[in-house]
Amino acid sequence: MSIPEQDRDDVLLRRAAKGDEESFTALYRRHQAALYRFALRMTGSTWAAEEIVQDVFMTLMREPKKYDSGRGPVGAYLYGIARNRVMKHLERLPRELPLEETNDDGAQVREIAVNRFTPAHWAEQQERSERVRAAVLDLPAEFREAVVLCELEELSYEEAAQRSGCPIGTIRSRLHRGRALLMAKLEILRDAPRRVSAAT
């Protein structure tokens, strides 16, 4: 099923550039969730993901003519901006880490993307999710991106390679390395000394 001409992203962008608020809103609503999830999974921070999405659309608002339809769809362009912002955020992160938030009782606040009012029987699942989230966030950025795109976003190697702007082989090797590191961090490698040494 083809998308009607008036609903195409590039058409919406052209209209938004001329001041059509409805087109801008439509474009935002169409892409915000995917960008937010990607940013959230890469940064592990809701406020950072929020800032990144806002930044992406502010850039689109300020410089709509920077988009070149010959280089790909609007979604890929937006993702490219989001990816740059995420990488910049991750570069800055080590300096920002010491500023950890705490609750009134002094307990550390972890910004998790799960429902804070999860019923008790979901506690185990939540704990597991938190462990794997921490492990993913501990991966180097390029391996993390491969894991996020291929395992969490469930993209094919080809799609992940397009988004990352690198060859498929690079994505494969990054994913392989990312998986090994992830398993090592999760301490779930079983009787596999060869892989442990490879992962560390």
Binding site: Y36, Q54, D191
Partner: protein, 218 residues
Amino acid sequence: MKCEEFESIGLERSGQRMIEVEAGLQRAAREHAAQCPDCAALQESWQEARIALETLRDSTRDAETPDRVEMRLLHEFGMRHRTRKVRSSAIFAAWALATAAVLFASVSWWNGRLTHTQGGAVSAVNGVKSNAPPTEASSSDASDEAILVADNQAGDFTLLPGSLPQEVDDSAIVRVGMQRGALSAFGLPVDEERVSDWIQVDLLVGQDGMPKAVRLPE
């Protein structure tokens, strides 16, 4: 299949990427895992990691940007485009004003030039008249001429009743001789004792051939 090959293929157990792996390779990976305990352990470990990843994926599957971001963006969008509209209107208004000023200046200059040209023509006619010998009438009837002379000094003709100022724009000046009494036909006051005197009069004749204004030369 070697262990290195298994690592790149055997861990793909589901999803889109498994479709990319050929059936033959999948079978070979399964056979390798059955024979190699290291690879079997790796596969089992990865399955556990995958379950953990799926939990994380599910927990963020429905995550969306908070509504406040959309509000902020739309506010910024409105500000940006309103400002642009106001700026465009201001530029348009400035150009319109400038154009109006130029037009006004041009029209004023043109009118001034026309007045100057007509004034010159009238002066020339007056000059011719002033060189002519004074008529008997002009020397003998100062009181009647006073009004017209005054008009003359004002540099203009006296409009005849029923004539409009704009009708004299393209008129011709004709000097005629007539008896003073004929001036009454133009609605001008005439001394009854001297109605039979012959005088020279400048008539401003319109394009329709009718006199529009009169002037008594000095």
